[in-house]
Symmetry: C2
Subunit: 197 residues, 2 copies
C-alpha cells in the first residue's frame, strides 16, 4: 500500500539513488550500487519500487526537479532585492545539491527510458532551472540593476556555470580555494564582464 512505502527505508533508497544517478547517470549506476548504499540486497529494492530501475530513476528525477524549483525560488527570495546576492544564492543552492548535468541527462540518460516520460521530465527540468532564475533576472532588469536582452539565455548561463563550479574535482582546487569563493568570482565576472570598466 501507499502508506507502507512512505517510510524511512524508501526515503533512503531515493536519496541514495539520487546521489548516484546525479553523479554517474542512468547507465553507469547498477541497482546493486544503490542497494549497497542503503545496506540492502538489490532484490529488496523491488519491494519499494516494483517498476525497477527505470521507475526508480523517474521518481528520483521528479523529486529532484521539484526540489530544485522550490529551493531555487526560496534561495532567491531569501537573498533580498540585490541581483548579485540572488546570483550568489543560486550558486550556493546548486553547491548544496547533488550535481546536475542537463546535457548528460538529455543526450545519454533520456534515450534509455520511455520517450514520453523523457519528454515530460526534460520539460520539468528546464522549468525548474529556468523559471526561478529567469524571474529574478527580469525583475532586476526592470529595477535597472542590469541590462539583459535575453533573460532566458542569461538564466541558463548562470545555471550552467553553477554546475561547472559544483563539478570542479576537489583535486583541482588548491588548498585555499573553496567553491564558494570561486562562485563569487564567477558571479562578479558575469556581472562586470571581461572588459575594463
Amino acid at each position: 500500500m501507499m502508506a507502507q512505502i512512505d517510510n524511512k527505508t524508501y526515503e533512503r533508497i531515493l536519496a541514495a539513488a539520487d546521489a548516484l544517478f546525479s553523479q554517474r547517470g542512468y547507465a553507469a549506476v547498477r541497482l546493486r550500487d544503490i542497494a549497497e548504499a542503503v545496506g540492502l540486497q538489490h532484490a529488496s529494492l523491488y519491494y519499494y519500487v516494483p517498476g525497477g530501475k527505470e521507475q526508480l530513476f523517474v521518481e528520483v528525477l521528479e523529486r529532484n526537479f521539484q526540489r530544485h524549483r522550490e529551493g531555487l525560488t526560496q534561495a532567491i527570495q531569501n537573498a533580498g532585492e540585490d541581483i548579485r546576492q540572488q546570483m550568489l544564492a543560486v550558486m550556493g543552492w546548486f553547491l548544496s545539491q547533488p550535481p546536475m548535468d542537463l546535457a548528460r541527462l538529455y543526450y545519454a540518460d533520456m534515450p534509455q527510458i520511455d520517450p514520453a516520460q523523457a519528454e515530460r521530465l526534460m520539460r520539468l527540468a528546464l522549468d525548474a532551472m529556468s523559471i526561478p532564475v529567469c524571474s529574478a533576472i527580469e525583475a532586476a532588469n526592470e529595477a535597472g540593476q542590469i541590462a539583459i536582452a535575453n533573460p532566458f539565455m542569461a538564466a541558463m548561463t548562470l545555471v550552467n556555470l553553477a554546475q561547472g563550479v559544483k563539478l570542479i574535482p576537489a583535486s583541482y582546487l588548491s588548498k585555499v580555494e573553496r567553491r564558494a569563493e570561486i562562485s563569487a568570482e564567477v558571479v562578479d565576472m558575469l556581472l562586470n564582464g571581461w572588459r575594463k570598466r
Copy 2:
C-alpha cells in the same frame, strides 16, 4: 602490425566511436552501436582494437584531446588579435566538434576504466581545453583589451559555455535562432557583463 591497422576502416571506427562516446558517454554506448555505424559485425571490431571497448574509448579520447588542442590553437591564431574574434573562434571550434561533457567524462566515464589511464586522460583533457584559451586571455590581458584576474577560470568559463551552446537540443532552438548567433550573444554577454555600461 601497426601498418595494417592504419587504414580507412580503422579511421572510420574511431570516428564513429568518437561521435557516439562523445554524445552518450562510455556506459551508454554498446560495441554493437559502433559496429553498426561502420557497417560491421561487432566482433569484427576486435580485429582493429584487440583491447575491446576500453581500449577503443581510450584511443578515441587521446585523439579527441589532441585534436582539440591543435584545433583551438589554430582557430585562435586565425582569428587575429582581437579577443572577441578569438572568443568567437573558440565557440565556433566547439560547434564544429562532437560534444564534450567534461563533467560526465570525469564523474561517469572515468570511474569505469583503469584509474591510471583515467588520470592521464583527464590531464590531457584539461590541458587541451585550458592552455590555448588561457594563453589567448593572458595575451589580451596584457594588450589591455580585457581585465581578467583569473585567466584559468575565465578560460574554463568560456569552454563551459561553448559546450552549453553546442548541447542545446535542436528542439529548443526557434526557427530563426542558430547556434552561431547564440554563441555571439554569449560572447558579448561575457565581454560586457550584465550590468549597464
